[in-house]
């Protein structure tokens, strides 16, 4: 009775003979890349970076090296450091994107490329000059403002599958022109979470029971009231 198995198997083979191949021929054709794709070519906006090194502290591998010196210019919103070194050792990077998550000023974005082979390890280190001159094609990883969210959390909830236009990608990192720091926008703090790197747990009506249970940051809770407004003032200047 081995014959029946053979016939059944061959039926599946026949079905697949008439189908289009599922694979694509990579260098000529390219797969659709999703806007959240975490890739190489970190996008860094020097205008926003204060040199706080949150990204370097939050990197699980410690591959970001930042050297700063105090700057003489006092900006209206506060002072910032002058950056001398901003090295990202790309050969050890695992593209987890935690540096982007940690950045409190939306100065660092994940890139969207994946084709940066180099012949030597030294070339794999992204220096500050490369970061300055690179074409900025930021990924939307942890930057929901690029995804065009309507605003409130949960707004991007389940959409009916019938609408064809919705299934189209809204933002294509590789397709469009490079984005400047004014275009990429700021993440509104109302969308996600009220605190980012460097800030402690806030005791408010949104998170009533966490502080006693965690013991996390209880000692500095309530230190940052009204921080939200300051940040919104900073975003007010964007076009």
């Amino acid at each position: 009775m081995y014959g029946l198995a053979m016939v059944k198997g061959l039926l599946v083979t026949l079905k697949n003979l008439t189908r289009k191949p599922f694979t694509i021929q990579y260098p000529e054709e390219r797969a659709e890349q999703h806007p959240r794709f975490r890739g190489e070519e970190f996008v860094w906006y020097e205008e926003r970076c204060t040199g706080c090194a949150s990204c370097a502290k939050y990197c699980p591998l410690g591959i970001i090296k930042i050297v700063t010196s105090p700057s003489e210019t006092a900006l209206p919103q506060g002072d910032k450091y002058r950056l001398e070194v901003f090295d990202i050792e790309l050969q050890r990077c695992m593209f987890c994107g935690l540096c982007v998550e940690a950045c409190p000023y939306d100065a660092l974005f994940m890139g969207s490329g994946f084709e940066q082979g180099q012949y030597s390890r030294q070339d794999m280190v992204i220096t500050i000059d490369q970061l300055r001159q690179a074409e900025k094609h930021p990924s939307t990883w942890f930057r929901p403002q690029l995804e065009g969210y309507a605003g409130e959390p949960g707004e991007s909830r389940r959409q009916p599958a019938a609408t064809e236009g919705e299934s189209r990608l809204t933002y294509n990192p590789r397709g469009g022109p490079p984005l400047g720091w004014r275009e990429v926008g700021r993440e509104s703090w109302r969308w996600h979470r009220r605190e980012k790197a460097g800030m402690r747990l806030e005791t408010g009506p949104t998170a009533p029971q966490q502080t006693p249970a965690t013991g996390a940051g209880g000692e500095t809770a309530g230190e940052v009231p009204g921080k939200d407004d300051t940040i919104d003032d900073m975003t007010a200047g964007k076009p």
């Binding site: 959240r36 987890c96 994107g97 940690a102 959390p153 949960g154 996600h192 605190e195 996390a216």
Partner: protein, 368 residues
Amino acid sequence: MTIRTEPMTVNVGPQHPSTHGVFRVRITFDGEEIVEVEPVFGYLHRGTEKLAEERNYVQIVTLTDRLDYTSSMINNQAYCLAVEKLLGVEPPPRAKYLRTLTAELQRIASHLIAVGFFVQELGALGTPLMYGFRSRERILELFEMLCGARITVSYMRPGGVFADAPREFWPALDRFLSDFPGEFAEMEQLLLENEILMVRTRGVSPLPPEIAVNSSVSGPVLRASGVNWDWRKQEPYDAYDAVEFDVPVGANWDNYDRFWVRMQEVHQSLRIINQCVAQIEPGPVRLDLPLVLRPAAGREAYGRVEASKGELGFYLVSDGGIAPYRCKIRSPSLINLTVIEHLLLGWKLADMIVSLGSVDINMGEVDR
């Protein structure tokens, strides 16, 4: 007259093409029969537990991706559950549903690989495996949409998931849910009642339930041995108490049952996903936790999930610092490997790799 044979020791691995990763096993054969088995671990040891002791609680999420790299989402989930127990917090309901949904998608992907490689080790070179990979690719694309990576997802965070699903995710998930049952039915037509497969695997390497329970085996291997034990049912975490599903249990304890249980679990996973999609409500997806978590000193927690390979647990001890004092990982693949001697002794050389494939080990998780 009988031919006198001498026992012969053969070294399989650590880079034998048909083993799962860098697994090495020293086997002594008497003729074609296996008389001695000695597995050798440690070729992929990266010291994950030690690395976790010097990273903060969110950074460890990236390490868990690399344990069982065919089911990263479930690893994330297990770790995040452990940290949430440690902190005494609970994620928002939408995050629970998103976690359940992605974990079940990942379970399908993992089982497709397991089944594909199991059949490949029987000699079906490539074809069923590639059918499995074709469907798995769709799942990985969904993951890329969700979190920007396909394998090393790092999607979940203590206190929820890192961000809500993007708009285009839901139509894409619907397309997957409408296409996949057809693709999987094709695989079932090819494999499930296939005589060649049944002749090779029926009754081969049975694992009695007593030995399975005594060896702490878990997951599909345990259920194939006739024990109805699934942590999703026994101790529902995330949204599993809100969904309905069955636990397939094998009756013959053999290689075929281990394969069959995985095929059935894919159907149950699909059921869970469909219910999640129907039940999910809008809302926040992440708790307002600080980026650097500091659980109270002296607290300890064990978070466990039913991973695609068995019970995956993280045992965390806090000393009040930003990194855990100790992070013990109970990986299902390692514990499931301990019964390999029972499975192999007395069976033939040709069944060895098949039995190994039916246990579905992943060396990233065995050696950690």
